[in-house]
Amino acid sequence: MSDYSYIAFIPLLPLAAFVLLGLFGRKYFKTFSGTIGTASLLASTILSFYTAYHYFFIDGNVNGVFQKIIALKHTWLQFSPNISIDMGIMLDPISVMMIVIVSFVSLMVHIFSLGYMKGEERFATYYAFLSLFTFSMLGLVLSTNIFQIYIFWELVGVSSFLLIGYYFEKPSAVAASKKAFIVTRFADLGFLIGILILAFYSGTLDFGLLIEKLTSVQSPEFINISSASFLGASVLTWALTLVFIGGAGKSAMFPLHIWLPDAMEGPTPVSALIHAATMVVAGVYLVARLFPVFSIDVTALQIVTYVGAFSSMLAAVIACTQTDIKRVLAFSTMSQIGFMMFALGVSKYGGEDGLGYMGSMFHLFTHAFFKSLLFLGAGAVIHLVHSNDMKDMGGLRKLMPVTHITFLIACLAIAGIPPFSGFFSKEEILLAAYHSNRLIYGVAVFTSALTAFYMFRLYYSIFWSKEANVHEPNHGEGTLSMKMPLIILGACALFAGFVPFSKLVTSDGAALETHIDIGFSALPVLLAFSGIALAAYLYKKENDRPQKIASSLGELYKVAWKKFYIDEMYLFITKKIIFNLIGRPAAWIDKNIVDGFMNLLATMTGKISVLIKGLQSGKVQSYALYFFGGVIGLAVLFIYIWK
């Protein structure tokens, strides 16, 4: 086993860049800050690739099974002999895969931003925040300890908050960043309680020990946690569900998804990095990290499955009606993460049954490439058109050929057309769903057809539809630094499906044999093609067919366009119910009873002092008289009364 301690540099280099740019960036390296951030991340990325090569092909695999390697471990806080918060680095197939994705996509976004954010007033701050995010996300995926993951979990939440609110002079961006922060914090409360329950019953916070104790059916810890019950479910189910709530908040699962569409207020490259490829899959990663425990508890897994499948379909339906291109992409992200979630839900641990797990991780891998590509492409389009709305676009294919081709590749990939990467991963997910739950399979096939439809609706509306309507002179597609990431990611979206993923990342570490069954994949691919054809029929040339369909659907269309009124429901619950029934009475009690008691004390003290202040007259002789009176009084007391 070789020494892996150099991996510490992968997260630490972005941290160093954050500190440097955060403290001195605006003053000293106004224009270099992008280069500094990108250079540090380039080093991280090279190290990540080296690590991945080393782990997957040299010494991670022992007897056909990939091992967990603890590269570094340092106890940070010791609560009791067993429970401690450690800071460390753990390597296993999913964490190695994640560091590659995170550092690589982050590098692409850094390079893209060099052109996209050029001339921004707070250019250095932007790069500092990006570096902070990259550091936190890398720390999150490398965690050895469930509390370490929680710390980094909050750090990515903070950096997401900072980046969504980057344009803080816009009130909508401020509101969106607050919303994202509050919703995810609310979910993280569940996560924290889940962590505490798990730690209480298993007596450890370390992932390895935790999984070992809670998966062996004879261990006293397992018997305790699964036999204790609360409100009709075992404590294990509760703990896992609470942990999943934390994951659902970060991964924008229904009903905690409301922050993700609004998070599109941030700069577009940020959306590509945080709200498409990396941070939002943290929830999936968390479930995958604890998957051995989840796989024991059927109820918790079913919650994961149904929440994932429902979110996936809901988001796909909403995405068909949105007109803001970034929001369409946001809902498609939510839908694809739903795919990853229910793929984990239908999976079991180990062997052939672990197909869903592998499919989920595979989809996470391919999704990171094509979704960040879609967002960066959308960023390039927005850069040219200066608008987010589909209505202002159209006919851009001649103006931006590189963006057009790469965007098309990404759309084909997300639609699941062979041989693009999304096809392979989606295929595994559908196969896993087919074998375990037909209802979920039906939802998944329907959703993937919808995905093909709304992605090509987006594609045709941007690049075809009508003649280009862009003010002259325009700056074209932007600089090389904006085109290069698109091309690289395009190549990844095209070829990532050919990575022998089932040999590398599986639930138990052993290689899994998969093959493409033409008969099985025919249906989803045909449906995807028909979705594309429908989109082409409706949106390729400007016509009034979409309008007619929308008006014939009437209320149904409006409800979907309004995102099923979920935001309004939240507002109703918070403003009307919580504020009125809890907030206002609490404020009344605070103002009148708590403050009232304090005021009473103060007023009484004041009154008494007014009464007795006359004693302090400033006349020396009266003081002497009081003193003498006191002495006489004491003398009488001691001589005659006390004896």
Binding site: G614, Q616, S617, G618, K619, V620, Q621, A624
Partner: protein
């Protein structure tokens, strides 16, 4: 004639003490008040000497204390007169009623 007993002497010292006390409370002039304090101190001295003579004839402790009190009284007079002079400089008066600023 009757012999002078300790009771007679204690009467004198008590009278002296209360005369001093009365002066301290009624006079507004600080020099007079200082003199009243001296009367109180001397009544205590008389007590010391009387108790020493009548109760412990062979010892000198009471006399010793009386001398000690006289010494302290001299020092105290020096400090008090210094205070009075400073008061006069700042208030142009040595009436205690005029120096009543230190109050609520």
């Amino acid at each position: 004639m009757n012999e002078i007993t300790i009771t007679h002497i204690l009467f004198v010292s008590t009278a002296l003490f209360f005369i001093g006390m009365y002066g301290l409370f009624t006079r507004r002039n600080m020099i007079t008040m200082l003199m009243a304090v001296e009367l109180i101190l001397n009544s205590v001295n008389i007590n010391f000497v009387a108790f020493n003579k009548y109760l412990y004839p062979g010892k000198l402790d009471g006399v010793f204390f009386a001398i000690f009190v006289i010494t302290i009284a001299a020092a105290e007079a020096a400090v008090a007169i210094a205070i009075i002079i400073n008061l006069y400089r700042s208030h142009h008066s040595i009436d205690v009623e005029d120096a009543g600023e230190l109050k609520y």
